[in-house]
């Protein structure tokens, strides 16, 4: 009871609506990251085309995925680089 009173006076009461808002913000982002496979493959091909202008990469070895942590979502793109392409003058 005492701690309840204390919280009341100091205004530190945990508000459930703050949880609701935070959870909503994350879930809405996640919902939109639910991309289908064809989109991911298209994206992967486009990225490979761009990177290939500068580096020689192993098309087969690369992987692309959406990584979800508690706080952030990230597109993770992993590829071994074989050579740096010489810039043509």
């Amino acid at each position: 009871m005492l701690s309840g009173l204390l919280k009341r006076f100091t205004g530190q009461k945990k508000k459930s609506k703050d949880d609701a808002k935070k959870r909503l913000q994350f879930s809405l982002i996640y919902d939109k990251l639910e991309v289908n496979d064809t989109t991911l493959i298209d994206l992967q091909n486009d990225i490979v085309d761009v990177i290939s202008k500068y580096f020689e990469i192993d098309r087969e070895a690369l992987e692309l995925k959406v990584k979800r942590d508690d706080n952030v979502s990230a597109l993770v793109f992993n590829t071994p680089i074989l050579h740096v392409r010489r810039k043509q003058a």
Binding site: K13, K15, S16, K17, D18, A20, K21, R23, L24, Q25, S27, L28, D31, K32
Partner: protein, 265 residues
């Protein structure tokens, strides 16, 4: 001049879509417009009972779209409000009996006859929803301040944007005391999460259930806070400026407190 088609939608069911549709339609008619409310929830009609017109149904929107009757034959005149009409849904058919092309043809005709056509969309994002948004010029999304309604609203807003509609939001059933205690998302929270323009804010109001019990328009009750909020939303939709969005409050003024304590209210 051609009328406007406004779709009222929500994604999640049970957030007050039917109340919003009937109230906004009634309020637009009270502003002097000729208004048709169309129940697009085929198979689960409700607007007729909410508006107190269930005894007068002969034909319905499915009959109109399938050309089994004329629009005039399916249009029911409201008992209390002039220039307010209902085209009910069918109760027996399946949602898939309507085609978007058929709905578009009827909507085009309705625009010629009415200043406003308000389409009450079914919950969900399936065929029935698609049929109700296909002809819309404007869209209103209704949600309550809870996680499931807001998330579903976000999904629906996304779909509306992809159809070149820019929806506006009605936050319904706001309970000011709970917002103040931090138990309920505030309208600012909801707007921030959904990044959408507000059409209006409607407080939780016991009068909503009572008016649907009797099938009488909420907007005709001057003591209904929700009814008055819907009237302001309608005035803004009708192009009236200087009708600010009022934030629901539970602070009552001194006189109403005193009169209540004397049992006068």
């Amino acid at each position: 001049m051609e009328g406007k088609i406004i779709v009222v939608t929500s994604g999640k069911g049970g957030v007050g879509k039917t109340t919003a549709t009937s109230s906004i339609g009634a309020a637009l008619a009270l502003e002097g417009n000729r208004v048709a409310i169309v129940d697009m929830d085929i198979g689960l009609r409700n607007l007729d009972v909410v508006m107190g017109l269930e005894n007068r149904i002969v034909f319905n929107i499915v009959d109109v779209v399938l050309e089994r009757c004329k629009i005039e034959q399916a249009t029911i005149r409201d008992r209390r409000i002039d220039n307010l009409f209902l085209i009910p849904a069918s109760q027996s058919d399946n949602k898939d009996v309507l085609t978007t092309a058929g709905v578009e043809r009827v909507a085009k005709e309705l625009r010629k006859q009415f200043d406003y056509v308000i389409m009450d969309s079914p919950a969900g994002i399936e065929r029935g929803f698609e049929n109700s948004i296909v002809s819309a010029n404007e869209a209103l999304v209704v949600c309550t301040p809870d996680v499931s309604a807001v998330r579903d609203a976000d999904r629906v807003i996304g779909i509306l944007y992809s159809r070149s509609l820019t929806p506006k939001l009605i936050v319904n059933r706001i309970e000011p005391a709970r917002v103040r205690r931090g138990e309920m998302l505030s309208h600012e929270d909801v707007v921030e999460v959904l990044a959408i323009e507000l059409a209006g804010l409607v407080p939780m109001d016991d009068k909503v259930l009572i008016s649907s019990n009797t099938g009488t328009p909420l907007v005709l009750q001057n003591d209904s806070k929700a009814g008055q909020a819907f009237r302001r939303i309608a005035r803004r939709l009708n192009g009236e400026e200087n009708v600010p969005i009022e934030v629901p409050t539970d602070k009552t003024n001194m006189w109403s407190k005193i009169s209540r304590s004397f049992g006068l209210k």
